[in-house]
Each structure stands twice: as C-alpha cells, then as structure tokens.
C-alpha cells in the first residue's frame, strides 16, 4: 500500500485567473466580457463571478477542481499524490462504447487520470491532506481509482498526523466497474476509521451534487459536514424518488438547506467564506 506512492511536482497549470463558463452564458458586448446568470437572469461583467458565484443572486456554479485547490491552499503548497493511478476495465463493460475507450477519451478530454485529485498542502499555514472530486470526469463517479485515492488520503492523514479535507461532488459509484465500485464504499469508510483512530479530523465538504455511493459512504461521516449553498445531497436521486413514491418532491428537497434543517450537516458555507471556515475549524481541531 504506500510503496507505489509518487508525488508529482507542484502543478503549474493552476492559476487563480482562470474562469470557467460551464453553466452560464458568457459573451462579448462592446469592450467588456459579460455573463448572464441562468438562475436570476441578470447579466454581469464576467470577472464579477468570483469563484463562480453569481454577484446578483449568489447562485454557486461548479468550480473546477484545479481552481478549488488554488483557492483553498496557500500558494505553491499543493503537491498531488497518486496521480499516476489509472482505471482498468475489469468487467469488460460495454455500453454505448467500451469502458476502456470511454476512459481513454475522458482522460484526453479532461487532462486528468480519473475523477479525483488528491494530495497535500497547507491551508492558512496548517498542513492538510486535500481531495477534490473532478465532476467533469464521468460525473465524479467513484470506481477503483477514486476509492483507492481516497483510502490513501485518509491513511496518509493518519500516518502523517494531518487533518483531511475532502470536497465531494459525485453522482455515486461508477456503474462500469460493477460491484468493485460498490466495494469502494466499504474501503473508503474503513480507511476513514484509521484517520479517526489517529485522532485527526475529517472535514467533509459537500458540493453539488453529492449522491449515491459517495453520499452513502464517507461523505456524511465528517467530523464536521460543511455544505455549499444549494448543493444537492442525498442517497437516491430526486427522479428515482419521484418514480418510487409517485409524487412530486417538495421545493428544496435534498438541498443543503434541507439537510441543515434535518440535522445532517453542521453548517452551510458560502464559497467565498469556505476557506476562512475551514481554517477556523482546523484551528479548533488541530494540535
């Protein structure tokens, strides 16, 4: 288990200036770049969407994993681990295309090897182990590689005596690896147990969406569960529930605010405050 660890050099392609345009429209009008928010319909200057949050209504759009890392960690402190791990196709799974081909194409398109980045760095001067899901890689689904990297993240937190901060955004287990994906739930949770016994905190940050086998394994077991405003968090997806109970779900069901009301998360942190919130929590739990 720890013998094939390679620590890549600090990755240079994280820059704080990068703005993604995944969820709302961006266009050039006159001399400025403008962007319209899908949630409130208002148009703002693109640079006003700091950390992908709408300056008008506060809607949180997805932030790329690389941007999360550059936002949360002290500059230059990040070093990725286990980036060399790649998925195999143990079942020979074929849907619209073979899983092996889908993996190769997704790797090429996203520039990452699988649906998570894990490593270490400092947050406000404190050493932490950090993981961030890459939702654009097959919906952040957890297969063998994601499970392995999370297990190593928790184990390293235990070995090094450092807290673990893990930002989840995932549709759940990766269907294409069948029951092997399912077992990643048990594997990651068992590794979390090691971190707990080592006396280190686990701060679970729940992004939009966190569902299925990721929600139902380690993600709701944080010593502190922090959710982003409006994030969808739940075991079953809303469509499955609607089909099962044959009724329309109430407004706001399975959203972060609903989970806070029902006692499932400790707090909701708007994105611009998350870094300070994490630093404060680590201050209380750190040595």
């Amino acid at each position: 288990m720890g013998s094939d660890v390679s620590v890549s050099a600090t990755v240079a392609w994280f820059t704080k200036t990068k703005v993604s345009t995944e969820a709302s429209e961006k266009r050039t009008l006159g001399k400025g770049v403008f962007r319209r928010c899908d949630a409130c319909g208002e148009t703002f200057k693109a640079e006003e969407f700091r950390l992908e949050v709408c300056p008008g209504c506060g809607r949180h759009y997805a932030l790329r994993a690389e941007e999360w890392i550059s936002y949360l960690l002290d500059e230059g402190s990040w070093s990725e681990e286990d980036a060399q791990l790649t998925a195999l196709d143990p079942l020979g799974f074929v849907d619209a295309k073979p899983y092996a081909k889908r993996l190769a194409e997704t790797r090429a398109k996203t520039g990452v090897n699988d649906a998570i980045l894990t490593g270490g760095g400092t947050l406000d001067g404190r050493g932490v182990r950090l993981g961030v899901f890459v939702f654009r890689f097959m919906g952040g689904s957890m297969g063998s590689v994601v499970g392995e990297r999370i297990a190593r993240l928790f184990e390293r937190g235990a070995e090094l005596g450092q807290p673990v901060v893990l930002l989840s955004s995932s549709g759940g287990a990766r269907m294409q690896e069948g029951a092997l994906s399912l077992m990643q739930m048990a594997k990651t949770v068992a590794a979390l147990g090691r971190l707990r016994r080592a006396g280190q905190p686990f701060i679970s940050v729940l992004l939009d969406p966190t569902t299925g086998g990721v929600a139902a394994s380690y993600a709701l077991l944080g010593d502190v569960n922090v959710a982003e405003p409006g994030a969808l968090i739940g075991f079953a997806g809303p469509r499955v529930i609607e089909q099962t109970i044959r009724q329309t779900l109430p407004e706001g069901f399975q959203r972060a605010e609903y989970l806070l009301d029902h006692g499932m998360v400790d707090l909701i942190a708007p994105r611009p405050e998350l870094r300070a919130t994490l630093a404060q929590l680590l201050g209380h739990f750190g040595g």
Binding site: D4, Q84, L85, T86, A87, L88, P90, L91, F93, V94, D95, A96, G143, S144, V145, G147, E148, A151, A173, R174, M175, E177, G178, A179, L180, S181, L182, M183, Q184, M185, A186, K187, V189, A190, A191, L192, G193, R194, G213, A215, A216, S217, Y218, A219, L220, L221, I233, G234, F235, A236, V240, I241, T244, I245, L249, F253, Q254, H262, G263, M264
Partner: protein, 315 residues
C-alpha cells in the same frame, strides 16, 4: 408454489410424477412409468440448470419461493429473540435483528427480510430498509460487541429504500455509519448474501471477516433494470445489463469480493429448503471458526486488508 417460466417443464413433470405416485399408492402398477418420468425429470433438471442464462439466475435470486432470512433463521439457529427499534425513530420491519443460538452458542443475527404474502411484502417494504433499519442493526452489533458475541448478517435486498422519508432521516448517513461500525467491530462477523445483494443497502450489512454468497444470489452496484434505464433509457433491457454487470456469485468470487460461494441444492434453494439450510449451516460453522481463530486485533487487520485490497487499478 410459484415458479418461473423456465422452471415450468420441470414443475409439470414433477406434478405428473406426484399424480402417478398418488394414483398408485397402495395399489402399485405405475412403477415403470414413474421410474421413467423420474429419469426424465433428472435429465431435464440437469440440462435446465446447467444452461441457465445470467438473467435466469437473477430471477432465481428473486424467486418468490426463495428462502428468506427468517426461513434460514428457523432452520439454522435456535432460541431466537427479536429486538426491535433503533431507539431514535422507530422499528423497521425490513430489517430483523436479535440474538439466537448457533451450535448452542449465543450470537447476534441481523438480516434484511422480504415478505411472502402481499400484505407481508408491503409491511417489510420488499426488504428495502429505511435508516432506522440500519440504525437498529448497528445497535444490535454494538450490543454483540459489548457482550462478546459473534455477528451473523444475511443480505437480501433490492436496495435501501429510495423514498422521501428515508432521505429526510438520513439514509446516506445511516448506510455510511453502518459501514464504519462493521469495519471496526472487534467480534467476528460472517455475512452471507442469500438472495439479492442490491447496492449500498446490501453492503451496509456486508462488511465482515468472511463474506459468503449463496450460489444463486447476486451482488451488484445497481439493479440490471436500473442500469438498463441509465444506459439505454429502457428498463426492459435488464437482461442485457445483467450480462454486463457481472453480478453472479461466481463473478464476485473471481473479483475477490466474496470469500466463498455456498452451493445450493439443484435448481436453487427454494427446491429443497432443508438441504439449502444444512449447506448454509455447514458454511457458517466453518467460516465462523476461521474468523474466531484470530485474536481481535489480527481479525480487524485482516478485515481491513481484505476490503482495502478490493478494486482494480494500474499505476
């Protein structure tokens, strides 16, 4: 007795044998015919069950006459006392938990329970647990821990219930917490998938020192129907999805997900429940002895190492 389509010719032959036996009862005269029919039934049975498709095996795992947890409990264990409730919200009939005796020794027994009659099916929610079911299970596991009793779990569920109230009461947390409790329990745990091993709701009772699967049970990340509706937007293509998912006991064994496949009587456990129970009891006895042979620290390390090694990756 219910039967599946592919079982029909066999069931029909067996009915004719029974009729002839009844007709000849005390009088004799039909022995050659009966002998001939029995020979044909045996050959048919052999051909039928050797050539089953993946989907037919999936159907066997859900067979309406398949023995459920309480059937095995009655045949394999004695002196059962059921313990109800999670001490927080309610009692979930989709999970049965309590203490019983196995070879005279007090043990905890916990399992998903499906219903046989329509009324019972609804009461048991088709074996789909709510959070309070998993929380009851954890409560009984922790009780077993304090009193040094081994834990036997029996997995048989299409999945944890995907409903509004289940979400409201923390289905995700309950399943995750159960995984954590089982990974840290110091007493021996033997888990057996006896029918449907459906996703996280199944695994929530499936973290153990020894994980067994009955021959015609399944273990899957998603139901074939659910997989088909995602892949092809057509749940009716479940049989195709079942081929992809490699969800049979033999696949789980080959992928290192279970430790042992427990043989069933020819045609499946429902065709001879006492024999199926005897085969299960023997496997439980042997596997409990293996888990028992280790001291608690070594047992926990071995359990950790087993689940830690699950998965396939390069690099």
């Amino acid at each position: 007795m219910a039967h599946l389509d592919f079982e029909k010719p066999l069931v029909e032959l067996e009915r004719r044998i029974r009729d002839l036996e009844e007709a000849s009862d005390g009088l004799g005269g039909f022995e050659p015919q009966i002998r001939e029919l029995k020979g044909r039934a045996q050959a048919l049975q052999r051909d039928l069950y050797e050539g089953l498709s993946v989907w037919q095996k999936v159907l066997l795992s859900r067979h309406p006459d398949r023995p459920y947890f309480l059937d095995y409990l009655g045949n394999v264990f004695e002196d059962f006392v059921e313990l109800h409730g999670d001490r927080a919200f309610g009692d979930d009939p989709a999970v049965v938990a309590g203490f019983a005796r196995f070879d005279g020794r007090s043990v905890a027994v916990i399992g998903h329970q499906k219903g046989r009659s329509t009324k019972e099916k609804v009461r048991r929610n088709f074996g789909m647990a709510h959070p309070e079911g998993y929380r009851k299970a954890m409560r009984v596991m922790e009780l077993a821990e304090r009193f040094g009793r081994p834990v036997f779990t029996f997995v048989d569920t299409p999945g944890a219930y995907p409903g509004l109230e289940a979400e409201e009461r923390g289905q995700s947390e309950a399943i995750g917490r159960s995984l954590l409790v089982m990974s840290e329990l110091r007493v021996p745990i033997v888990a057996t998938v006896i029918g449907e091993g459906g996703s996280g709701g199944a695994l929530a009772l499936g973290v153990a020192d020894r994980v067994l699967m009955l021959q015609y049970s399944t273990y899957s990340v998603i139901t074939p129907e659910g997989c088909a509706s995602i892949l092809w937007r057509d749940g009716a293509r479940g049989p195709e999805a079942a081929e992809q998912l490699k969800l049979l006991a033999m696949h789980a064994r080959a992928n290192g997900i279970v430790d042992e496949v427990v043989e069933e009587p020819v045609g499946g456990a429902h065709r001879d429940i006492p024999a199926a129970s005897a085969l299960l009891a023997e496997a439980l006895r042997r596997n409990l002895a293996m888990a028992d042979a280790l001291d608690p620290d070594a047992r926990l390390d071995a359990r950790y190492a087993k689940f830690r090694a699950m998965g396939r990756h390069a690099g």
